[in-house]
């Protein structure tokens, strides 16, 4: 198990490192091939590419949902290449993840959806009562706490997902197509929140198809094609 001292390794130079990483699925399908990637703490990185080019594989490798066939994955100085099953929950509490389909529990309220993340991690009730309203305030949903997912808009649902990802105060927030189901206005809202979170020091990894979002951000852009990184620009644009 990794103790507090090891967790402090988050403060090392690179927040995310992928060294010569390849992932080949059974049947020979290549997810990613020879990927070298280093993301510094506090960076806001957009990962772009066509569908099926390996963006999601990259995310799954980072959150230890999959193990690389070759190479090394290091998160905050912690080599998770061969992470033990029992250590995965600890890693996941350090990485917030949001998805295009929000992944909210329909039978739980906004408050319960967020508190759920703390409950499963064994947080005491008083801490849940303290933290949940705070993070809901950060995403501007402190007045919608008792509504159910079907009673709020898509943009608000994504903000709930962001709040849930933030309750563990993660050092990394991975956003996999977070604006894919949103209109322009809600997209702008979500991106603004991500920028705000980034300003507090959280490293953001944004996987997106949205050209406008990427171009407006003017942050680092990594382009993936056919499982390999074909472009890595410090203040880039959507080039595909």
């Amino acid at each position: 198990m990794h103790d507090a001292a090891q967790i402090n390794l988050w403060y090392t130079r690179c927040m995310i490192q992928l060294r010569n990483v390849s992932k080949t699925y059974p049947g020979g399908t290549v997810g990613v091939r020879d990927v070298h990637l280093a993301v510094k703490p506090g960076e806001f990185v957009s990962i772009v590419g066509m569908s099926g080019t390996g963006k999601s594989t990259l995310i799954r490798l980072i959150i230890a949902e999959e193990k690389p066939t070759r190479g090394q994955v290091i998160i905050g100085g912690w080599d998770i290449t061969n992470i033990k099953q029992r250590e995965i929950p600890l890693l996941r509490r350090q990485i917030g993840v949001i998805f295009q389909d929000f992944k909210l529990l329909p039978k739980k309220t906004v408050y319960e959806n967020v508190s759920f993340a703390l409950e499963v991690a064994g947080a005491p009730s008083h801490r849940i009562r303290e933290v949940v309203p705070q993070v809901l305030a950060v995403v501007g949903l402190d007045n919608q706490m008792h509504r159910y997912p079907h009673q709020i808009s898509g943009g608000e649902a994504q903000r709930v997902a962001i709040a849930r990802a933030l309750v563990h105060r993660p050092k990394i927030l991975v956003a996999d197509e977070p604006t894919g189901n949103l209109d322009t206005l809600n997209t702008a809202d979500v991106i603004e929140i991500l920028k705000k979170i980034n300003e507090f020091g959280t490293t953001i990894l944004l996987v997106t198809h949205n050209r406008e979002v990427v171009n407006r951000l003017k942050r680092r852009v990594i382009t993936i094609d056919n499982g390999t990184i074909v472009s890595d620009q410090k203040s880039g644009k959507y080039v595909l």
Binding site: Q85, R86, I88, P89, L90, L91, R92, R93, V97, K103, L105, F116, A117, E119, V120, A121, G122, A123, P124, S125, R164, A165, H168
Partner: protein
């Protein structure tokens, strides 16, 4: 402690969300427990029946009316020397006559004959009880010697070995059938519990995937399913005991009538043996269901 209480809460939610399946699972477990208890009831009743038959068996040695007391004492001493003899009760000629008179109080002819005789025509009687029915043969054989010919008038011996062995055969068969039924129910219960857990995992796959996503530990994800299994077992055991209690309350008077003067009560049996019997059943049930639930989780809940 908080995590433990939350696991219980989620486990209760699982049971409630799949209410129909939970009821089916508990019902099967109750049926299985009832069949196990039926085995114990059959075993207790047949055991009591055999004891009752054995208790009724004795050898009566009738002495001649003029047999000297010293010879009677000698026979009693010889019989008492057998390790297989449980009890050797000597009844004096007066006692024998009194019992005979009472027994035939309605028969005027017998009463008249006794009066006409003017003296006690009956000799002393030795009533012998052994631990096992088969042991009477040795005693009868030991008394069947010329030395006692003038002293012992007759011997009666009801050979109940056959009856006892028949009861034993019937008991064995009844128990075997009950065991087969129990095993069948145990297999069904095993599959039903596995299936319930599988359905619970399936219906909560979204919640489980979110639990994993937000960093729930393996223990936390699996614990509610174990709570669910534990709840099934507890409810099934309680229901089985309640049904058994009412079942015995209704049938016990009839069973007691069957045993006549022999003291046997099924309720009494379960009252004295209950803690051990139900404790063992509950422990076995938990082992069976946990194993089933664990296998299901291992297969369908890849944490």
């Amino acid at each position: 402690m908080t995590a433990f209480l939350r696991a219980i809460k989620f486990g209760l939610q699982n049971v409630w969300r799949n209410f129909g399946l939970s009821v089916t699972t508990i019902s099967i477990l109750v049926v299985m427990l009832m069949s196990v208890n039926l085995i114990f009831a059959i075993s207790a009743m047949t055991g009591a029946a055999i004891s009752s038959v054995k208790d009724q068996v004795d050898v009566s040695v009738f002495f001649t009316p003029d047999a000297p007391q010293s010879r009677i004492d000698e026979v009693q001493k010889v019989v008492g020397g057998f390790s297989s003899v449980k009890e050797a009760q000597l009844k004096s000629p007066e006692q024998v006559l009194a019992e005979f008179t009472t027994r035939h109080a309605d028969s005027e002819a017998i009463q008249y004959s006794l009066k006409e005789l003017g003296k006690n025509p009956l000799g002393a009687t030795l009533i012998i009880r052994t631990y096992e029915p088969g042991q009477y043969r040795d005693i009868v054989k030991a008394l069947n010697i010329p030395e006692y010919e003038g002293v012992i008038e007759s011997r009666t011996f009801d050979d109940t070995t056959d009856i006892v062995s028949r009861i034993a055969i019937i008991t064995d068969r009844a128990q075997m059938i009950a065991w087969v039924v129990t095993i069948i129910f145990a297999v069904i219960a095993f599959m039903i519990v596995a299936s319930s857990i599988r359905v619970a995992i399936f219906t909560q796959r979204e919640e489980i995937s979110i639990q994993k996503l937000v960093g729930a530990g393996n223990w936390f994800i699996r614990a509610p399913f174990f709570v669910e299994v534990l709840l099934y077992c507890t409810l099934a055991m309680i229901l089985a005991i309640v049904i058994l209690y009412f079942g015995i309350t209704v049938t016990d008077p009839y069973i007691r009538t069957l045993f006549g003067t022999y003291q046997f009560s099924l309720m009494g049996y379960f009252m004295t043996q209950g803690p051990l019997l139900f404790g063992a059943q509950f422990a076995s049930l938990i082992v069976l269901c946990s194993l089933s639930g664990f296998m299901s989780m291992r297969r369908f809940l890849r944490v």
